[in-house]
Each structure stands twice: as structure tokens, then as C-alpha cells.
Symmetry: C2
Subunit: 154 residues, 2 copies
DNA sequence: TATAATGTTGCATACCAGTTGCAATAAGGA
DNA sequence: TCCTTATTGCAACTGGTATGCAACATTATA
């Protein structure tokens, strides 16, 4: 994921502490993995990386910490069109929502920000009188590289 | 789901047959359940309804038929923000894409069509040179009824 | 209408991501 | 430092979905 320059390392940790949550060694480790990830990671990848820093960390702790971060709106959960089973992927909640495009052929994930998307969310809030907490726009299709070559069959 | 008047009963069956697929008793049953559903159903609900019409239908057949319909782009798979576990919900692919809004408090699912959404998809295709096959825009938040009352706690 | 070829089904079993109960442990305030 | 309470790790479990395989049904063909 493009990590914006404005992001402060340790931000997640500071956020959780300011909410009065206990900062354990395990949480610090997991948060640092989430913060330094350059791509979207699933729980097991997250666990593997966390274990490189703290070998006795348990996967349950990873799941619980992810749940915590989700409930506090600090990370977003992605499905990425379920291209690799049913696992979920995580990213720090960005300042501005973006769209995830998944190429059904090469599997590449691309992110895209758009004013139209922002306006669409505004329209939903107004027209539907719906208070948006979280949005997820995922698009499956063929990226520029793959759409020129043969398409996969059924 | 709002089933548009333009929808022809037996449409799914005709579509599959025109693609040269075998039309079995089980498939006919499952297709009719999908076609007549008035809400988004998950695999187990679909199975229960199919069994009312054909008691010996097996759940794997439901999963396999759903997979088939998905691959042929005849139904869409929804997560509905994973509010009820990890199950998936299904709906016939509509003529025009719509947004699913899930109320995090009462669980109500609302659908919404929007020109802005159509334009956004156009922008993605153009600006990202991405050929869209399927989109999924899900929004979690609080509906008009629920946003006025107390919010749930962490 | 019978037959052959191939696609589809049902059963049992396995799988995989994620969850839960509970006793042991550790964080942070007094 | 002690005490309270949150958090952890282990093991076992759950729910949704997928698979191998033999039996069977569908469709094309004769």
C-alpha cells in the first residue's frame, strides 16, 4: 500500500494508548508489522511477520488485535474479491477512502482515489439519510497489462 | 431484492442452457429458488428452500451451482459487511449495478442505484485502463431510523 | 428409442480461517 | 510494590465451503 508521507510511525500505538488500552509487547509487535507493511497482508502473513520479531506470539493474539483495531476504526478489512480463498486482508485506515481493483488474471491489486467516489459517498449520506461508518468498493476485472492478452476460459 | 418487472422467470435456466450446460432437476430447483428470492439468501438458506421443493438435494450441489452461476456472471456474491459471520449472500446480477448499505445496528440492507456510481465505474475503466467485470460497493453505517437513537458501544 | 459419452450428483471426509473457554500472566494505577 | 483487571496462550471447536470418487442422469448420436 502506498504509505503516505504524512503517516507517523507508532501512530496506531499512540491511538490505542490514548483510548486507554493496555500496550503489551505482543500488541506493539503486531502494530509495528501492520504499520510497516508495504502490501495488504492477511492474518497468517501478519502472524509470520510478527513471529520474526517475537517468536512466541500466538495467532489468537493476532486475530484479537486485528479485531480491536477494526472496532476502533484504525484498520480496514478487505476481501480483495476473494481471489485467494476466503481470507481477509488488512490495511491501515487511510485519510481518504480508496477503491481496490483486483485483476482476475494476474492478481495485482491497484488502489485508486477519486473525487467521484467522495461525491458518491456524500450522495448516499444525503439521499439515503445513512450515516456512513465504513465503505468498501472492490472491483474485479482485467488490468491494462492483462486485458490485451487472451482471457481465461470458464 | 427489488425484482424488476422486466425480469423473465426461468431466465437463469435459459441462460445456462444457451451456454450448453446440462439442466438437471437439482439445478432447475436451485435456479428457481434464486430467481424467486425476495431477499439476499446465503447458501444454507438457499439449501433449505431448495429442499422444500426437492428434499434430497445436497448442500454440495448448492455450492457447486452457485459457483457455476458466479463463473457465468449470472449472480453476484455479497458479503454484506460480514455482519453475520463469514457467509456470503447471493443475488441475480442486476441490469444496473447497485450499492448495498448495511445498518450496523439493525442489520437492514438497503440498495441504492446512482448515476455517480455509474460515472465512477466509467472513470475507473478510462483512467486506470481497467476492464471491469464485477464491482462490489458495500457501505456500513447507521440507517435513518437507527442514527437518531443511542449508538452501540465498543 | 436405445446407446454411448460425458457431465453431474451425493456421500463422506477434509479443509481452512477464524473463534471460544479458561487458567496463567502481565500492565498500569494506587 | 501490590492489586485489580485486561490480556495472553493453549487447546479444542465452529461454520462455511471444497474435494475425491463411485453412482447416476443428461444429451447427442445412431
Amino acid at each position: 500500500m502506498p504509505l503516505p508521507e504524512t503517516e507517523i510511525p507508532g501512530r496506531l500505538q499512540a491511538e490505542l494508548m490514548s483510548r486507554g488500552l493496555r500496550m503489551t509487547r505482543q500488541r506493539r509487535t503486531i502494530l509495528s508489522v501492520v504499520e510497516t507493511a508495504k502490501q495488504h497482508l492477511d492474518a497468517s502473513q501478519l502472524l509470520r511477520r510478527a513471529r520474526r520479531l517475537d517468536p512466541q506470539i500466538d495467532r489468537v493474539t493476532v486475530y484479537r488485535t486485528l479485531g480491536l483495531l477494526k472496532r476502533h476504526g484504525l484498520i480496514d478489512e478487505l476481501d480483495l474479491m476473494h481471489m485467494q480463498g476466503e481470507k481477509h486482508f488488512y490495511e491501515r485506515r487511510p485519510q481518504r477512502d480508496h477503491i481496490h481493483m483486483a485483476c482476475l488474471r494476474c492478481g495485482k491489486i491497484t488502489e485508486f482515489e477519486s473525487d467521484l467516489f467522495d461525491r458518491l459517498k456524500g450522495q448516499i449520506q444525503r439521499d439515503c439519510r445513512f450515516h456512513i461508518v465504513v465503505t468498501r468498493l472492490e472491483v474485479g476485472g482485467y488490468c491494462a497489462q492483462c486485458r490485451t492478452t487472451d482471457q481465461p476460459k470458464d
